[in-house]
Subunit: 437 residues, 2 copies
């Protein structure tokens, strides 16, 4: 089968690998030039990724996991930076057994592009921006050059601002939403200090500050990429070098000392937006063509659970399952794939919820105590797993994670009630014994 | 001030009247030809409107209410048609004091277009489809002809599938949703019977059938326009004349006998879609231009509360208030107008909720009994008003309607509790008296 994928980003390239392995002829159209020929890169435009089990599982199926891990740095927990400079480390799992993996988006994209183009049957057309898509005729149009292509199967892997989805949205019956947070993000850098990491490279660093926060992820060159998640009005208010320095000196004093390029980075790096996208259905089939969506194009989420790319990679695994079950009948496979929305709706919500946890609650005593209790339960109770662990270190479907967490809470509540009942019974017996005595 | 309005539908024409009265120069761009020159009309494409107080209030401010009322038929209540042909009438207000007004969209649009074009400073450009809008330069482009216009103030009154909104949606930070029901609508007709109305013309007729329903509104030519609101699968399933006749004979037997053109109408009339649109913000201001949205373009709702046009007309009144308060400073007025979202969000939800009520609960004994209690309370308690009455027969802001309904429920609950307390006290006293005796 000939399959057209729009977008040669992370998910587009990975999907091309899966489909080529199944014997399909894949053409990837990408609006940007070949990243392997670019020098500039995407400085200040993309959050570092935290690859975890769902992403690694997808890569493992293509034997790409070792290559990718070699370019990544494991982070076994969160390092919280209090305003007074105090540090506290919270392992992501009991005993720090599991880690998430920091990797730059550009590096990962290059690996996946290499992997895809090395496969027979995959070709990539760079500098092709989709300007038209007619599912009734099975045609695509591109700028520049105005070329037209025909396709019976089109999969949009073209991200949160998907051009393929823009076409679907115009069809009656396609429900859609884009919800922006009132927050922007901006990237900054903590360079290596005398050739060494300036902070512990084995952790994801968080500076929770109530309404806003900063995070930092390590890079192989021993720098850290920092990302501010601030309300737009705060971001806009720091409009002079003096204000930038004064604000960081007050709110992020330990990081401020490690950021010699702060003022220039703050001035030059753009403000990114944080959007959650929902769309239903994700596909349309006509006699001429089937058009579907995958990854961020189908369900962009905010980055606060570190699951955007992991979820997109898992989409590829799930679509492969749907192809297995339908004998590579793409219209039927894309119909089956719609069931995944139950899972992507859950992670979209968890990602939003986790922003509040990261910027606000994660620094509190109650939160830290809760995490300690959770890890103790993980050690003591066979089968008990925290939500974070189920999301990040298993491939349990997201919706099933939520059902399991709810079950575990009921058990814990029942156990607590049981203990309380026993205590009261004991007390009653004691009182009676004394009354009788 | 020169103001450009995109869309010469109901709200666009009414807004032009309001703005021209304030001394502004208004240009209306409309993609369709002049409806006054058309013969065909929009058969089968638009639900009859039920004009109620919010719409009439807006028309009254322009002294247009008498003209419009003359073309409308008052409906003082709902006439429910049971499957066995049994009828029951529910007045919309206590004693049938208030009525909503059935009017065809095309007739109303012509009246408003006449009113707008009769005013100095208003001009209309028909056959102009908006194809481009650049708020950074203050330019608009139109098809056919490819003309470009400049504008400092652009207001999109171009409906649920607004082209102006499509431009706003592409700006980062503009949250948006379109939610389709799994239901379609299709129009049919009950012609006059021997020159007379075939049903009571003083009511809105409803055939509630659980998952689906039909309604009928009277027309001045003594016909009724019927609208089916059915699940898409049901609409698609009736694909032969036999199936259409059999289905109507079974589910709508009394109407079936009054619909000689049923089979042709069912076959020829298109299926419409039911969408709820939300957008935030509704406007954007640059140094070159201010672009805003009004009516369905800003907040399309489903038709089940009869408030779509009424809400759009009330938008015009509210925008006029904002212009009053800002001295006709459009950027500031449109910023103030954003507060109206609190009201339009409420009516969007009520319209969705009312679908369930109309198709399902409206025929039940519990519902009828509830309505009787409500009307009794309206007669007995000073100030008590049902939600339907507040929405349809007052201009109380929608959000305030909800707060008032909540207050009334608390009072009623407290009164009920008071009565129960009194009863229990009496019982206790009685028991004590007997025990003492």
């Amino acid at each position: 089968m000939e399959v057209t994928i729009v977008g040669a980003g992370l998910v587009g390239c990975l999907l091309a690998c899966f489909l080529a392995r199944r014997g399909h002829q894949v053409t990837l159209y990408e609006r940007r030039p070949d990243p392997r020929e670019r020098r500039a890169g995407d400085a200040g435009r993309s959050i570092n990724l935290a690859l975890s089990e769902r992403g690694l599982d997808a890569l493992r199926r293509l034997r790409l996991d070792d290559r990718v891990r070699a370019a990544a740095l494991p982070m076994a927990g969160r390092m919280m930076h209090a305003q007074d400079g105090g540090l506290s480390f919270q392992p992501y799992s009991a005993g720090g057994a599991h880690a998430i993996n920091s990797i730059g988006r550009a590096a990962l994209n290059r690996e996946l592009l290499e992997a895809a183009t090395a496969l027979p049957g995959v070709r990539v057309r760079f500098g092709h921006r989709l300007t038209g898509l007619d599912e009734r005729r099975g045609t695509l149009a591109f700028d520049p050059g105005g070329g037209e292509a025909r396709a019976r199967v089109v999969i949009g892997a073209d991200g949160a601002r998907s051009a393929v989805r823009a076409r679907l949205q115009r069809l009656p019956g396609v429900s859609f939403s884009q919800d922006y947070l009132d927050y922007g993000y901006k990237e900054l850098s903590i360079p290596a200090l005398r050739g060494q990491f300036a902070l512990d490279p084995g952790a994801l660093h968080i500076w929770p500050r109530g309404r806003s926060m900063m995070i930092a992820l390590p890079n192989p060159d021993r720098s850290f990429t920092c990302t501010l998640f601030w309300p737009h009005d705060t971001l806009a208010a720091l409009d002079t070098p003096h204000k930038v320095r004064a604000y960081f000196a007050e709110h992020y004093p330990d990081a401020f000392e490690l950021m010699p390029g702060l003022v220039a980075g703050y001035r030059d790096n753009p403000v990114g937006h944080l959007v959650t996208v929902r769309c239903s259905p994700w596909h349309v089939t006509t006699p001429a063509a089937t058009v579907g969506l995958i990854g961020d194009a189908a369900h962009a989420i905010v980055p606060f659970y570190g699951q955007g790319a992991n979820c997109g990679f898992e989409d590829c695994v799930e679509l492969e399952r749907c192809l297995d079950r339908t004998g590579d009948d793409f219209p039927r496979a894309l119909e089956l794939f719609e069931r995944r929305r139950a899972d992507t709706d859950v992670i979209a919500r968890l990602a939003l919820d986790n922003f509040v946890e990261m910027r606000d609650r994660v620094g509190s005593r109650a939160f830290l105590a809760g995490k300690r209790v959770e890890h103790a339960l993980e050690r003591v109770l066979p089968g008990y797993r925290s939500r974070y662990e189920l999301v990040s270190f298993t491939t349990t479907p997201y919706a099933e994670v939520e059902r399991r967490v709810a079950r575990q809470r009921r058990w814990a509540a029942a156990a607590g009630l049981g203990a309380a009942t026993a205590a009261v019974s004991g007390l009653v017996a004691l009182v009676r014994a004394r009354a009788d005595g």
